[in-house]
Every structure is written in C-alpha cells, then in structure tokens.
Symmetry: C2
C-alpha cells in the first residue's frame, strides 16, 4: 500500500471514482470521505467507495497521508488551506479541479505549517454525463490525461509522488504551469461548454422534436451542473474572453461568407473543422 489513509473531499462522480480506482489497485489501507451532504456520503459508504465519512475537514484529514479535493473549483482553495492546518506532517494534498490559476494563487498566498505539508494541483481530464457517487467508476481515469501543476507549497519529490498516484489509477500525468493549463483548457473544455449551453438555450422549443443525435451530441455537456460550471467560468475569465472573442469573430466571418454566397471559403471552414475533428479520433 502506497498510502495509509486517503481522504477524498467531495465524493461525487470524480471523487467517488478516485475512491473506487484507489481501492481497485490497493493504493490505500483506508479511504475516508468528507462532504456536506450526509445522504450522499452514506450512499458512498454503502457502495463501498469509502470506509468511513466525516462532515468536517479537520476530522476527515487528521490521519490522512493523501487528501484529494474534488469539490467545485470555488471551494477548493479554502478547503486545502483548512486541511493544511489539520493534517499530519508530510501529508500530500492535491485536487481534481478544472481550473488551476486561481486555486494555486489563493493557496500560494496562504501560510502552510512547517511540517512538509504539500499542495500539488491536478486536473484529470475525465468525466461523464452522470453525477454522484452512484456513477463512480474505477476505470474513469484509465488512459486519461491528468494535468499536474506544482505550487509554492510543493517539492519535486511531492510532484513525482502525485504523478505516481495518478499513474497507479491508470492515468497519464502531464506537467503544466497553472497559466498554461487554464489557457489550453479554455479552448478544449470551457469554451465548448459555453457554446453548448448557448446552442441549447437558443433552440426554439418547437424545433425540439426535430433534434437528432447531432444536436444531442453537440449540446450534451450543456446538461452539466451550473453550480460546477459557473465557478469554472469565473476562474478562467481572462482566457475565456479571448476564446469567446475568437469564436464570435469566426461565426461572424462565416455569416458574412454565407450572406455573400462565397462558397469556397465556407468549404474551407468545413474542411478545417473536419481535419481538426478527425485528428482527435472517436
């Protein structure tokens, strides 16, 4: 066993899948869940995802060797700072948040105890349409990229240990700065989310019966929880302003080409989109 006690703060789809995957590869002797929703924690315990649960961070982290924070991004920094003050010396803290700059900035500002407690940012690029611990899957991270971002409160050895943790769960860690993470994820995740929400929102209700798999695929992520996504958008405002500006301008260009019946550049738009999508695989 690499860890004695693994504590997971926020036992939903991601946190629950971390619990299942860690059990599956015998990575921790004991898994503790921390959350505010006791019903959900009870369900996670019944499902065998966690051994035990606590509703306060100090109680949940007091014997932890590793703590993973899988709450909405606006909660993570303060949870980490609270945990750092109550966990044992040498404890490693990491997260699963979809943004990194704001979280790491806030944590970097905080004073950590001088007992080798470290925070290393993580973002597993994995998810599912479903929510809650009942949707947790031990293979959620298999072959998925996990971005790992060092902080002021991390050592090279700590970062390596967190990378090994994700590898043990089947994932492929990649190290990036928080700035680079947020810039790239604005394009690959946050901008598509906003676009899907807007497309879904402007669909006239009378067109709903005539949607097929194309519309459903294109807008699937719009079903995501606004309580999760609004904080992500807040955290990544700068990069998203840039992405939205690009998207708006590309749509404007396309509209003008269509107005002018200028078909060759429209064909090139479609071909560029196809090449980009084909490069990603199914």
């Amino acid at each position: 066993m690499r860890f004695g006690t693994l504590t997971i703060v926020g036992v939903g789809l991601i946190g629950g899948s971390i619990g299942r995957a860690a059990r599956n590869c015998a990575l921790a002797k004991k898994v503790i869940g921390v959350g505010r929703n006791v019903e959900s924690l009870k369900k996670a315990a019944e499902l065998g995802i966690i051994d035990h649960y606590e509703t306060s961070i100090p109680a949940g982290v007091q014997s932890a060797d590793l703590v993973v924070f899988a709450a909405p991004v606006d909660l993570i920094a303060s949870q980490v700072i609270e945990a750092a003050a109550h966990c044992p010396p040498g404890c490693l803290l990491t997260d699963a948040g979809s943004t990194k700059q704001k979280i790491i900035h806030d944590i970097d500002q905080a004073k950590f105890p001088e007992a080798g407690v470290q925070f290393i940012g993580s973002h597993p690029i994995a998810g599912a349409a479903q929510r809650g611990p009942e949707s947790a899957r031990e293979d959620l991270f298999v072959n998925k990229t996990v971005i790992v971002t060092p902080s002021r409160h991390s050592s090279e050895a700590g970062v390596i240990e967190i990378e090994a943790f994700w590898r043990a769960l089947g994932a492929k860690p990649v190290r990036l700065s928080a700035l680079e993470h947020d810039r790239l994820l604005a394009w690959s995740s946050h901008l598509p989310h906003i676009t899907a929400a807007i497309l879904s929102g402007i669909l006239p209700p009378e067109a709903r019966p005539f949607t097929g798999t194309g519309f459903k695929d294109t807008t699937r992520i719009a079903a995501g929880d606004p309580e999760v996504w609004l904080p992500i958008i807040k955290h990544n405002r700068e990069a998203l302003l840039d992405g939205l500006s690009n998207l708006e301008s590309a749509i404007g260009t396309f509209r003008q080409l269509l107005r002018d019946s200028d078909w060759e550049p429209i064909r090139q738009f479609l071909e560029k989109g196809k090449r980009g999508r084909d490069a990603l695989g199914s």
Copy 2:
C-alpha cells in the same frame, strides 16, 4: 410485399439502411441500387443490401414501384426529374435529403409525365458518424422522426403511402411544409453542424491533447463530409443567416457579461442551456 421493386439512388449509410430495413420487413420483392461508384455498389450487393445495381437512373428506375433518393441534396432534384421521365406509371418517388425547399421548388418547376408519377419529399432524422453501405443498419430509423413534405406532384394518397413506408421501417412520420422543415432544421441540425465545425477549426493544435469527451461530443458532427454539408448550407442559406445571427449575438452578449463579471445573467444562460438539454433526454 407492399412494393415489387424498390430502387435506392445513393447506397451509402442512409440509402443502405433503407435497403436493409426494407428487406428486414419484407417491404419489397427486389431492391435495386443506383450510383456512380461501382465499387461501393458491389459492396452493397455483397452485403446483401441490394439484389442488383445500375449506374444510370433510367436503367435503375424502369421497373421501380418506389424510388428513394439518398444522394447529397444538390443532386436530388435533377435525379428525381430524370427518374420521373423513365419510371413506370404510378411510381412513387421520395428522398432522404436534409433540406426541402430548394429540392421541392426545382421539382415543382419540372413537368412530370401524365401517368401518376408522384414525388413526396422525406427527411429521416437519423444518421451516424460512419459512412458507406458497410455502416448501414436495418434499425437506423426505428423510433426516428421522418419529416414528410408534399409537392406539386403528389396526391394525398401518395403522401399516405410514403408515410406508411417510413412507418414500416420503424420510423415516425410527421408532415411539414418545406418552408417549416428548413426553418426548424436550421436550428436543430444545420446550425449545430456549423458551430461544431467552427469550434473544431479554431482549437489550437497544442490544446488537442487536453480534449476530453466534452470536446469530442460537442464537435463530433464536424467530422461529417463537406461534400454532403456544403450543399445543405447552400440550400438553407436564408434560415441559417438568421440562426447564425442569433448565435453570434448570444455569444456576444455572453462575452460582454463575462467582461463585466456580471455573474447572475451568466448563471441564467447556463441554467437555460441545461433546461433545454435536459428536455431532450440522453
């Protein structure tokens, strides 16, 4: 058997699935495929989708009771007009094209033989990422909506017979005018396609390794063939100009709200998108 000979012009995913589904419910004694690509027609014959193939429309339709045109939308009207001059009296012609106004307009202008040959427009809202007859599935239309649009060359009895044809394939026919069809499908299908192509096209290549299922779902339809989609966009230019203008304006509004950190209306955008998507099911 409802039909002696069913002729399918364009035996790809859609045409091939019509062939498979028609065989599956013993709807035709004989299925003839017509196309320009002999290799593809041979494959369709080997797969048992068609009994026989022809490379010219006059030869393919001369003994047909029903002809279905499943080619790109810019080819359909001239194929239908050619077929009408060579098919037997009483033959029914329909299509599977994703646009309706331009096709029906062009066919309405043409002179049909005075022998009860009818054209009724159809658009099955069904598809798949794959192409070609090897991807054809007998259940592609099961529980899928098919829009049926009468033309100047159709009688009520002919429309009813085409509706019954789609019902026999498992689909649910809905009658709409060509104008209404194109307006609704601009929102539910063509605008999402353009959006997916643009999102895919503007993704910086260095962000590709950080795309997950969200990005892949949102841009899946961008992998569609530009030879199929450019004619659809040409045919539905008016409705798409309106849709693109709405989309551009919604993105602009969102961007301004984000620039002003005006979070409550941004939350409402996300919630409206979620409600719309939740209403469609998985």
